[in-house]
């Protein structure tokens, strides 16, 4: 008895996998961006702001 040819299996999975993989990737990347990059930038800005304030205070 002939069986139906198995076609398109790889293709179907590939689209699903690509979407899930890139979706997770973009999520993780934004996690890094907001959780680490922007946070450390903010810390630096705050430090320089504090420095500037104390400088102004000293001059006054």
């Amino acid at each position: 008895m002939p069986i139906a040819p198995i076609t398109g299996m790889l293709r179907k999975r590939l689209w699903l996998d690509l979407s899930v993989g890139l979706g997770l990737g973009v999520t993780a990347a934004y996690g890094f961006w907001y959780g680490i990059h922007l946070k450390s930038l903010q810390r630096q800005e705050e430090y320089y702001l504090r420095l500037e304030r104390s400088r102004v205070q000293e001059a006054a």
Binding site: I6, L18, L24, G25, A29, I36
Partner: protein, 251 residues
């Protein structure tokens, strides 16, 4: 333990820490630019890594020989997919090249420097020449900078990093560096100021630095130059303009 990894703890260290993974804290616009570029590229790196490893894992799980006995049918002659996975990375690399070159040319710019310092690499110490000034005897200000040996270290000094005569610079001033080597190739590198430039004998390399805050910034010779390559550190101390003038008056 986690405190040792500086990506979790941005304290204001200007020397490397034990087990450090991330960058040192920036003290100059140049280094802030470098860290920014690194993090922008790192963003895409995360997307690509997670994407690739996810697909790879899925293929190993669903299409191993046990689950899919005829999988070798797809092993070669996949022209379309090969075109896709060759052209896509090429495009990504091209896109990354633009901000990278922009930063590179920005760093190369020397904006009207306040002072010029000549940095000379020797086997195995650095020497600095402040050619804008002359001493009472008519000679230019110059001095050698040797590492402090472990036996002479005082409390609070860094092993293999602290030197007897630091290079002193005024804060918030553009400084031009002229870098050369006296014997073999060395490399003058200070991470928090964003400089790393070869000190090549017979050649004058130019770079510029700007310290945005006072402090001592440490670096090391970064071109293997002989047995004591690891023992010729660089220490740059940024001080206020008044303190700088007082210091240059005293040498």
């Amino acid at each position: 333990m986690l405190q040792n990894f500086s990506i979790f703890n941005t304290i204001y260290n200007d020397a490397p820490q034990p087990w450090q993974l991330g960058f040192q804290d920036s003290a100059a616009p140049a280094f802030t630019g470098i860290v920014d570029l690194h993090n922008i590229i790192f963003f895409y790196l995360i997307v690509i890594c997670v994407g690739v490893f996810w697909v790879l894992g899925s293929i190993m799980y669903y299409f191993n020989t046990k689950n899919s006995p005829i999988v070798h049918k797809y092993l070669n002659h996949g022209t379309l997919i090969e075109l896709i996975w060759t052209i896509t990375p090429a495009l990504i690399l091209t896109v990354i090249a633009f901000p990278s070159f922009r930063l590179l040319y920005l760093l190369d710019e020397v904006t009207s420097p306040t002072i010029t310092i000549k940095v000379i690499g020797h086997q195995w110490y650095w020497s600095y020449e402040y050619s804008d000034y002359v001493t009472d005897s008519g000679q230019s200000v110059e001095f050698d900078s040797y590492m402090i040996p472990e036996s002479d270290l005082e409390l609070g000094q860094f092993r293999l990093l602290d030197v007897d005569n630091k290079m002193i610079i005024p804060v918030d001033c553009h400084i031009r560096l002229i870098i050369t080597g006296a014997d073999v190739i060395h490399s003058f590198a200070v991470p928090s100021l964003g400089v790393k430039i070869d000190a090549t004998p017979g050649r004058l390399n130019q770079s510029s630095i700007l310290a945005e805050r006072t402090g001592t910034f440490y670096g090391q010779c970064s071109e293997i130059c002989g047995v004591w390559h690891g023992f010729m550190p660089i220490a740059v101390e940024a001080v206020s303009v008044q303190d700088y003038l007082a210091w240059i008056d005293s040498v």
